[in-house]
Symmetry: D2
Subunit: 267 residues, 4 copies
């Protein structure tokens, strides 16, 4: 479910454009077997709860608001043993007019999203934050050689290929006492800069280097998962038209793509 | 990746329209840490393998073909410890001309798909089959009352509401020696008929009844998972125009929807 | 905007699942130039109007209801000179239980939709009805040879290829006094049967034959437009694996596709 | 169809990520009526032509390349009387590493696209350029009052509402001798700045102001069309929970939305 919140307390309005996913787990056996709804909190009530909590509380970092939501659901619902709240934030930046940031007009920064997922029981909370739909591409410093050759191999070795992917990242924080905004910005920066600078022997290797960099530099992160589909750009064979193709003309394809995923944990 | 196969050996052509998802697990540590690709089977080769195996083998039941694929990957790749192959089949039926089935012209039966997923190690195979995107709706025999009331509750109790959902089902077979086609058709029939006939006190209860019916009647199935989002159709308040709405005019909404999921196992 | 209407007057409920698109044209100059909203009927009011009219009137054929809607908007809005109402109907059929049609449980028949578009002024109405997203495929009786060869031609001639397309059709009726349901069913049948039976030399030729057949057999139709993207299924080259491909293994692709469109009018 | 072109002639690689749509019109009657394909240039050949022309020519401004493409098709195909080429360019910017633009790593700037459409006959060319999927939002300086009240009106007047839209713009140039890149950037800037600064009485009025501003300031543009769906953000009624909502909590909805469109021409 979606929510837009505007904070108008300053001349420069703050805008939050959020999508919520709420999952409550517990003992719901008789709901299924007997149609006993006395323990069911309807989706509609969850939606209203989001609106009301959003009115009663500031939303600065989505992690804080998601924590507050899990606390609300656990406090008020004894039948619930675990609450999982996921928030996905669309990113808007201020429009510039005459070079200056506008106080209340915004432009959407594409598909990239900031995410958080809190998995909370009454004993323990796991705070995972991340990025979705971050699309990056490099035109060189990427190769793929030395792979298995079998009777069905037709892929040529490539010492210089395009590397395009849509990064999804999720990392686990070691505590609640973190500057979530600063940490998210830094993790994002480290992922993107490592992608750019890495001399890639495979998507797998670059993915690993990106995750390792985040783990090395951000001590408040104990674990990171990365998903990076290989969005292939195939060099077009122009020899049929008596032309060469000096790594210049490519056909981007959606299917098939290798889906590369891994989780790195601090040792 | 997609594949269409046409069997032309009879006057009545057979058509298979399949989508494949292949996942190979094993020891790929040095791929990530050192860029050593010597154990990597490229996506491109997997794609070629599907084409070649599809040429060399009949594809009647997708379960048999997926089993054959996992065997291929495990036999030829010592570095792989587990192969997971998922096949999704789009369903076409023959066009009728003058009331008779046409030998080679087909019409697509919407979004509904037949699926299978084989998870195979060298020791063990798990065969899961199912249905995706089966959209059903009933206009009565569905209510939702007796749920939790809290300060944020606004949903009225409904003794007669529309129940619309998009069923995704997956069930686990007890053996490889099964008539997969007949069993799929029967499981599908049982799910749909139970949905239609059930006097529903909640989506959860109907989901449970559907799964239970399949487990009761098909001994070759040991476990079934169902996912049934509640695609709400809200009665429109026409009192603002001095009209009643005797459960007749509805607004279907996409968001928010309750996502109801459960897995039933033979006890 | 969407609307679901249930008619419960018989034991066998009737279900309509409709999507509306309403466009009002007229003299709206000062709305744009001066911000004068006194002639603007808000989208929200149009939505309410659909609900209220749907409550007050039976909806059997979407054409009749769309006509009624254009009349409503033209009668009540002197500033409007032309009203265009498009209705798209999702098609549901009854679930069968023990071989008998169920009175109130339905299953959706895929993506195919019945459509109508009424363009009405105070003087004249144009009634266009049609089909959207009708996906059909034939495995033989389709070729494509004799096309232009130029320096960039690589497509081989094909005397026997797969022909897959998603038909969108729209036809214009000569009058309001038509059995719209029967005519729609017949036009649909003629399109599909012609697709199946036609020995196709090109998508263009089959499209023409389909439209011609409808014009020849349905005198209440004066004009028909067809859009049929060529959803290519490319034969896979298996010679690299020392296999032949006797027109059996295909790769369906989304892009690029030729988009073939034409309008036929009675001479 | 898609094409990625990389220009590697400098250390700072240039990247073009383009989607093409090609439409050839002419006398194709016998193609339809007789299956005579001798005048048909297959889609596959058009695709190859794009690759070959992209290899043979620099692609700096998409307008220049689209012009060149229409010239190619008209020169080589006497049966074609009109060629329409549309190019849609996805926008990538350089990744910054340590504050400096990276020479060959890029990040995608969301959904926004630069477009051009050339409609060319042997006598005349119309050059239209524009923007697609530019998503903007303002949190104040937007109202909607004074609209028609009828029996189905429930929308309250709003003196301060959220205004969110996805701009699609297309403008016609007066000549081929234009700095297309500079003009596109300026037209885009004028549209966005006017959206931000305008005190909006309706979407229609703001749309008009945006178009008027471009026509006033860019003499090389003779006509501009704008399409701006009203992506409603509805204030949530929190009074049910004994809370106020001081224009702070909103529900963004996809449907229904008013689709506001207009074309402005220099008088």
């Amino acid at each position: 479910m979606r929510l837009v919140k505007v904070n108008r307390s300053n001349e420069y309005h703050e805008l939050k454009d959020l999508n919520f996913n709420i999952q409550l787990e517990g003992d719901f056996l008789t709901v299924h077997t007997e149609g006993d709804n006395s323990k069911v909190l309807p989706t509609d009530t969850m939606k209203n709860t989001v609106y009301a909590l959003a009115r009663q509380n500031d939303i600065v970092e989505i992690e804080k608001f998601a924590l507050l939501m899990t606390e609300h659901f656990l406090s008020n619902n004894p039948q619930v043993s675990r609450a999982v709240v996921k928030i996905t934030e669309k990113i808007w930046r201020r429009i510039k007019v005459d070079g200056k940031s506008h106080p209340h007009a915004f432009i959407q920064c594409g598909d990239e999203k900031r995410t958080t997922k809190i998995k909370a029981t009454r004993e323990k909370k796991i705070i995972e934050s991340g990025i979705d739909d971050l699309m990056v591409l490099k035109t060189t410093d990427s190769g793929f050689v030395g792979f298995i050759k079998d009777p069905f191999t037709t892929l040529p070795e490539a010492t210089d290929r395009i590397f395009a992917t849509i990064v999804r990242a999720g990392w686990v924080y070691t505590s609640e006492e973190i500057d979530f905004g600063e940490c998210w910005n830094e993790a994002r920066r480290l992922l993107i800069e490592t992608f750019a600078a890495h001399n890639s022997l495979s998507v797998q290797q670059t993915l690993y280097a990106m995750g390792e960099r985040v783990l090395n530099e951000r001590k408040e992160i104990s674990e990171i998962s990365l998903s990076m589909p290989n969005k292939h750009c195939l060099p077009v064979d122009l020899s049929r038209f008596e032309m060469d193709n000096p790594n210049e003309i490519f056909l981007p394809i959606d299917e098939p793509h290798g889906l590369i995923e891994a989780t790195l944990r601090r040792g």
